[in-house]
């Protein structure tokens, strides 16, 4: 993040309305940049001054009573108008029956709306697809893990471009043996491996490089009952690509473009497919 970007986000940050990840990036920048840090402090003071310095105009005594009596005048006038309406509505046969029915029964619409909502909820829960909420939460965790790995200089626990070094190391640390393949020929050299913790369990993170970019590939065993279709998510400039094979769940996270990520996935699948 450069200074211009940091200053553009100053209001959102101080209002606490930014994504936690972006906030983190800003905090990182403020630690490194005294100029921006000072601007943030000054802007924060201004904001507090607006809040504490400006008068709050409470409603004066009497306004409440004025409103209450005007509401009663309002309903007192109502029945006269209403009396005329049913008479006009009911007598002529030509008047569509539905109209009378509906205007008298807003609750039917509410009930219908409620039924639709209930049906939608049931459909969502019964559908074997991934539940959107869980998925979004996982996506957030995945991006956070990816960003943290780049930010904190903790990209790898075992740095090696040799799959036969990375794989045994991971095997000893985890209760499963993730596939590790060399994709140098496809343009994705292996950088190393790392342990991570996602979705309430330890997972393997394999790090591949694409030009100047890094791809974190998170791998953990498939839940037996999961029916996971391949899917892509794009968020905050990051692309997430998800696929499964008979044993494992894969989530690739990176800022490389979506097409590169697809190539990566294909390369990986070709290598892991049983021959």
């Amino acid at each position: 993040m450069n200074c211009k970007e940091a200053i553009n986000l100053i209001d959102g940050y101080l209002d606490g309305e930014l994504d936690p990840l972006i906030s983190q990036t800003i905090e990182q920048h403020l630690r490194d940049c005294p100029g921006c840090d000072q601007a943030y402090t000054a802007h924060g003071s201004l904001m507090r001054a607006i809040g504490s310095g400006s008068p709050y105009y409470r409603a004066p005594a009497g306004l409440r009573e004025r409103i209450q009596s005007s509401l009663r005048v309002e309903i007192a006038g109502q029945p006269v108008r209403d009396l005329a309406q049913p008479a006009q509505r009911l007598y002529p046969r030509s008047q569509p029956v539905e109209k009378t029915f509906l205007s008298g029964m807003p609750w039917n619409w509410l009930a219908l709306a409620a039924a639709i909502v209930v049906a939608a909820i049931i459909t969502f829960n019964l559908a074997p697809r991934l539940r959107p909420g869980t998925d979004q939460l996982l996506a957030t965790q995945l991006i956070a893990s990816h960003v943290r790995s780049l930010m904190a200089n903790h990209l790898t626990d075992v740095a090696s471009s040799d799959q036969h070094t990375v794989k045994p190391w991971l095997d000893t640390k985890l209760d499963f043996a993730p596939p590790v393949v060399d994709l140098t020929n496809a343009g994705f050299p292996l950088i190393g491996g790392r342990l991570d913790y996602l979705d309430n369990r330890p997972v393997a993170a394999l790090i591949y490089q694409r030009r100047k970019h890094f791809i974190n590939l998170f791998v953990w065993p498939m839940e037996s009952n999961a029916v996971n279709a391949p899917q892509t998510i794009s968020r905050q400039g990051y692309h997430l690509l998800h696929w499964v094979d008979s044993d494992f769940n894969y989530w690739a996270v990176s800022d490389v473009n979506a097409a590169d990520l697809q190539t990566f996935k294909q390369g990986f699948e070709e290598q892991t497919r049983p021959h």
């Binding site: 209001d11 607006i50 504490s52 310095g53 409440r64 004025r66 509401l71 049913p86 046969r93 009378t100």
Partner: protein, 211 residues
């Protein structure tokens, strides 16, 4: 007749399928009317329970938008009437934001009628004379000066006054502000940023003048 008395509105439509019987229709109308009376009093009570707690917020917003106490009270009263009439469309949720939207719209109707000047595009030339030498520290020293801040806010155009009040006095989220001011959520941050930086300029200009 024994059948006619407990008629609920559901049955009114069915009765229309019968031959137009004056007698039956008459009973239906009386019945509906009495029910109506009763439910309306109940409706006022539940409306008041839901909306009167937000009276201060409603008044504060109108007062800042109109910059005039009498207009503010008139607008708040009118807004409560409008809110009551459309209360059927309010299905719970954020009552304060719902009411403030109506207060805001009612205020703008009056503003547009009375003071077209408030909606002229912001004149950068007139206000560009701020004293650049007044730094944040000086502004801070004056931050307790309520009169100064009030005057500076009152110089801002309505859309800026509104967003500052909603954020700094009501503490509403960007999402709620977007709903009330009827702008895209993505616009809230940039509008707030512009409002604050204009306010800073005005404060600096006023402090510079007093020096």
């Amino acid at each position: 007749m024994a059948v006619a008395l407990p008629l609920r509105p559901t049955h009114v439509s069915k009765s229309a399928d019968f031959e137009s019987n004056q007698k039956v229709v008459k009973f239906v109308v009386v019945n509906k009317d009495r029910k109506h009376d009763h439910s309306q009093t109940g409706e006022v009570t539940s409306f008041e329970e839901a909306m009167l707690p937000h009276l201060d917020a409603a008044h504060n917003l109108a007062r800042w938008l109109l910059r005039n106490e009498q207009d503010a009270q008139d607008v708040v009263q009118e807004a409560y009437l409008r809110a009551f009439r459309s209360f059927g469309g309010f299905h719970g949720g954020n009552g304060r934001a719902w009411l403030l939207t109506i207060v805001r719209n009612t205020s703008y109707t009056l503003l547009k009628k009375n003071r077209a000047a408030d909606f002229t595009t912001f004149d950068e030339e007139i206000h560009a004379s701020s004293d650049e030498s007044v730094g944040p520290a000086t502004i801070l020293e004056h931050s307790e000066d309520a009169e100064l801040i009030k005057e500076a806010i009152n110089e801002l155009p309505a859309e800026f006054r509104e967003i500052l009040v909603l954020r700094h006095q009501e503490g509403l989220s960007y999402k709620e502000i977007a709903d009330i001011a009827q702008i895209p959520p993505g616009t809230v941050m940039s509008r707030l940023a512009r409002a604050r930086s204009k306010l800073k300029e005005y404060l600096a200009a006023r402090i510079g003048k007093d020096k």
